[in-house]
């Protein structure tokens, strides 16, 4: 029982998601696949489980070739995948989800479910409705189902995000037991502490390629270095623009639900200050940024903008108080596909009045396009622009006077020239006292531009560091779950 991947390649448009990946695993392997968001590990796992067809390359289990691009062929060959968001039908009962897609009869299914619960130590009520189960228990259900279908290779895609510590312990002990039975486990994660305690070997990916392999446990800073490449950040001069007054503060804030929620957050942002948020995907940064914009309500605690309590206020009140947010999904959450640049800028207030003077609006858009060096024309639909130019459009639409600017991955997917220009624009805003908060997975970016770096881990703020007193090694350790220094 062994798994062999040879020369797997996959390209999405201009992006080489997987570049000639080889992987060989022996029975009983507990193998970690490590890499930052966009490294290509999800694509590889989807190819392996048949959800995506590779452009080239082969997969074989026990020396038998697997037909690619079909989930049922992969499942028949013994490859099963537990998705990050378990693929179960929420209105179904546990027993129904368990037997869905198999030949099991109803009583037979219940018996099998009971046996597997005993074997793995999971505790599931067959009559419970799946909607009421926590993510962790839905995962347990999926693992049991895949075991019942006789998988030999089990892929787990970030299974520990959004589950409790107790569920994680139960999961790990079950996985160790399955490895002892000879199953191959592929564990996709970026939580270094976890993979070090669970897995026995690792493949590290970066930009679609395998950049490292080895045994585990291994020193965390070494793994972080492989994940992110060599740290090259040199610190520019401190700007000295940070004022005294707080533009925003959080006190004991809980917000968001499930994966990506934040608990007990305390933080302050001062005038002219740039605060970077570090953390692996889904560690709570999303909720932290959205609670500061009023898009996600705070369940507990207090949110203040410019000294005013806006804890229960709507997103509209936040924008009136001078808060703007540029989310990561530019086309999904920030721009309007189908509308052109002029129309975007009119909505952002380039011309006033109910009747729009398109001639004036178009001239204004042309000026903005030149000023922000956007590669596009006033009449270009926004979806036709590159990522860097879309980001410039979003920046160009910000109100003139801002108290607080929040950004998610401000330069993700941008070329170097665009990224540098985006930061030039952002830093210029500080002269008016605008506080900037940005989340990023790029350490160089964090260290180069932030005055202060806040580290999120597992839904909590675990460190609040002055840039002068920290380095990439320390941040790498903290985001991977090594306790605050």
């Amino acid at each position: 029982m062994s798994l062999l991947l040879q020369e797997i390649s996959k390209r999405f448009g201009a992006l080489q998601a997987n570049d000639r990946i080889d992987l060989e695993l022996k029975p009983g392997s507990l193998h970690a696949v490590l890499g930052e968001n966009g490294a290509g590990k999800s694509t590889l796992m989807k190819i392996l489980s048949g959800f995506i067809a590779p452009d080239s390359g082969t997969i074989s289990v026990d020396g038998v070739g697997v037909r690619t691009g079909s989930p049922s062929a992969s499942l028949q060959a013994g490859i099963g995948m537990l998705h990050q968001e378990p693929l179960v039908c929420l209105p179904f009962t546990v027993a129904e989800n368990f037997r869905l897609g198999s030949d099991l009869g109803r009583t037979e299914a219940r018996a099998r479910l009971g046996e597997l619960c005993e074997r793995t130590g999971f505790d599931l009520d067959p009559d419970e409705v799946t909607r009421t189960l926590s993510i962790g228990r839905r995962q347990q259900l999926e693992i049991l189902r895949l075991l019942d279908r006789g998988v030999k290779v089990l892929i787990l895609d970030e299974p520990t995000s959004g589950i409790s510590a107790a569920q994680r312990d139960a999961l790990f002990s079950a996985l160790r037991g399955l490895a002892a039975d000879g199953l191959i486990m592929l564990f996709v994660s970026h939580k270094l502490e976890e993979i070090n305690s669970l897995c026995t070997s690792v493949t590290v990916m970066r930009r679609g390629q395998v950049v490292g392999r080895g045994g585990l446990p291994a020193p965390e800073d070494e793994l972080v270095r492989m994940m992110f490449g060599e740290m090259t950040a040199t610190l520019p001069q401190r700007s000295g623009m940070v004022g005294k007054a707080n533009v925003a503060s959080l006190r004991g804030v809980d917000a968001g639900v499930g994966r990506g929620s934040i608990t007990g957050a305390d933080m302050d942002v001062r005038e002219g200050e740039v605060v970077g948020i570090a953390g692996l995907e889904g560690s709570g940064q999303d909720s932290l940024l959205r609670v500061l914009t009023g898009l996600v309500p705070a369940r507990h605690g207090r949110v203040e903008i410019g000294g005013a309590d806006l804890t229960r206020s709507s997103n509209r009140r936040f924008s009136e108080a001078g808060v703007s947010f540029l989310p990561a999904g530019r086309l999904e959450e920030g721009l309007l596909p189908g509308l052109d640049l002029t129309e975007h800028m009119v909505l952002a207030g380039s011309v006033k009045g109910q009747i729009i003077d398109w001639h004036k609006a178009s001239e204004h858009a042309g000026a903005v396009i030149r000023h922000f060096r956007i590669k596009g024309r006033p009449e270009s639909p926004v979806e036709s622009l590159s990522g860097g130019n879309q980001q410039r459009v979003l920046l160009s639409m910000l109100p003139d006077r801002l108290r607080l600017l929040l950004m998610e991955h401000p330069t993700r997917g941008l070329d170097l020239e665009s990224a540098a220009y985006v930061w030039e624009l952002l830093l210029a805003r500080r002269k008016e006292g605008t506080g900037i908060v940005f989340a990023s997975s790029d350490f160089d970016e964090l260290l180069a531009y932030a005055d202060r770096i806040i580290v999120c881990y597992d839904g909590r703020i675990v460190a609040d560091l002055d840039r002068e007193d920290t380095d990439a090694e320390q941040i790498g350790g903290l985001i991977g779950g090594r306790g605050a220094a």
Binding site: N315, R316, S319, F325, P327, L331, E332, E333, G334, L335, L336, P337, G338, L339, E343, H344, V346, L347, A348, G353, Q354, I355, I356, W358, M397
Partner: protein
């Protein structure tokens, strides 16, 4: 890249072919039938007048639909909004004294208000009650229909007899004035032209239209740009409903001259076909509606001249829109296959 004209041409040819096959198969003279329809729509001034009078409310209802479609809404409740407008206009016609120049504007305004109210209900159900606008609107449409029926045979019944054939005719001051001895009421046609022009202009040229399109494109982004999606949707329903209500008032005051139970007569539904065939663009609504109105009017002659059922008109309209939709889907599929094969 621009496959609009290709698509339209293919759709017209294929549906013409299908129609001819259908006619031949049912033993009808194919070319003569089409000629009778054309002649029935445009053959003499009276027929042209009838076609224009069919065209006006159709364009008004379609104009309302362009507004709601711009905001990404499937306002199938338009039939009910037409009915509600007709009911409101009839109420004014029955209750308000005074000369025509007071009465007719009041009826038209009441029609707008009635349609807007019915649109508001559908919007409110969608925004506050999470009720899908298709089923909410459809349900409200039947409620309006039964309310009209109730009025016709109940409180507003004819002197002596209750009959579903309608109320007593309005007094003449409530009739839209006509030209010569035709049934053409210029006011109706002017209102339709003004209505579709206003919609075309607002969608492209005003902040209101821009905000509608923003919400139709992406509610989440619209919110971040300061456009509240829910309030905008409700506004779209009210404006769209108002236009449809105006269509209802025109039907009551310019065509029926009384309230009949099914006063919308499927014109709201037909307007949906018009907008689908116009690919949701205001500028194409007026010409597409000419075609639809001509077929509807001309088909009436089939019965008289060839003893064919006038529903042939509906068949031709339906085939054309269906083929147009399918052609669009097939062309897209063909193009993406070609792209996949070459990429």
């Amino acid at each position: 890249m621009n496959r609009g004209p290709v698509r339209a041409l293919i759709a017209v040819l294929v549906s013409l072919f299908l129609t001819l096959i259908l006619l031949r198969a049912t033993g009808a003279p194919p070319y003569e039938s089409l000629a009778v329809i054309f002649d029935g729509a445009f053959g003499n001034p009276g027929r042209i007048a009838d076609t224009l009078m069919a065209w006006a409310p159709l364009v008004l209802a379609a104009a309302g639909l362009v507004v709601t479609f711009a905001a990404g809404l499937w306002n199938i409740g338009v039939e009910g909004q037409v009915t509600a407008g007709a009911i409101a206009a009839s109420w004014v016609a029955r209750e308000l004294p005074g000369p025509a120049y007071v009465l007719i504007p009041a009826m038209l305004l009441a029609g707008i208000a009635g349609g807007a109210l019915w649109g508001l209900l559908a919007g409110w159900l969608k925004v506050k009650g999470n009720v899908n606008e298709i089923f909410g609107g459809l349900g409200l449409g039947f409620v309006a229909l039964s309310f009209a029926t109730f009025l016709v045979i109940g409180p507003w019944k004819r002197e002596g007899v209750a009959s579903t054939s309608g109320t007593d005719p309005f007094r003449p001051e409530a009739w839209l004035p006509t030209v010569g001895d035709t049934r053409l009421a210029p006011v109706a046609v002017l209102l339709a032209i003004a209505g579709i022009a206003a919609v075309a202009y607002s969608i492209r040229g005003t902040r209101f239209g821009l905000r509608l399109r923003a919400v139709g494109s992406n509610p989440a982004s619209a919110r971040l740009l300061g456009v509240p999606p829910q309030a905008t949707l409700v506004r779209a329903f009210m404006v769209g409903g108002g236009m449809a209500g105006l269509a209802g008032a025109v039907i009551a005051s310019g065509i029926q001259h009384k309230l009949v139970p099914a006063i919308a007569g499927g014109r709201g539904y037909l307007a949906i076909l018009v907008v689908l065939l116009a690919s949701f663009r205001a500028a194409w609504v007026a010409p597409v509606a000419v075609f639809f109105a001509a077929i509807s009017t001309g088909a009436a002659q089939l019965q008289l001249q060839l003893d064919l059922d006038s529903s042939l008109g509906g068949v031709i309209q339906g085939i054309l829109v269906l083929v147009f939709l399918l052609t669009g889907g097939l062309l897209t599929r063909w193009q993406s296959r070609k792209a996949a094969a070459s990429g």
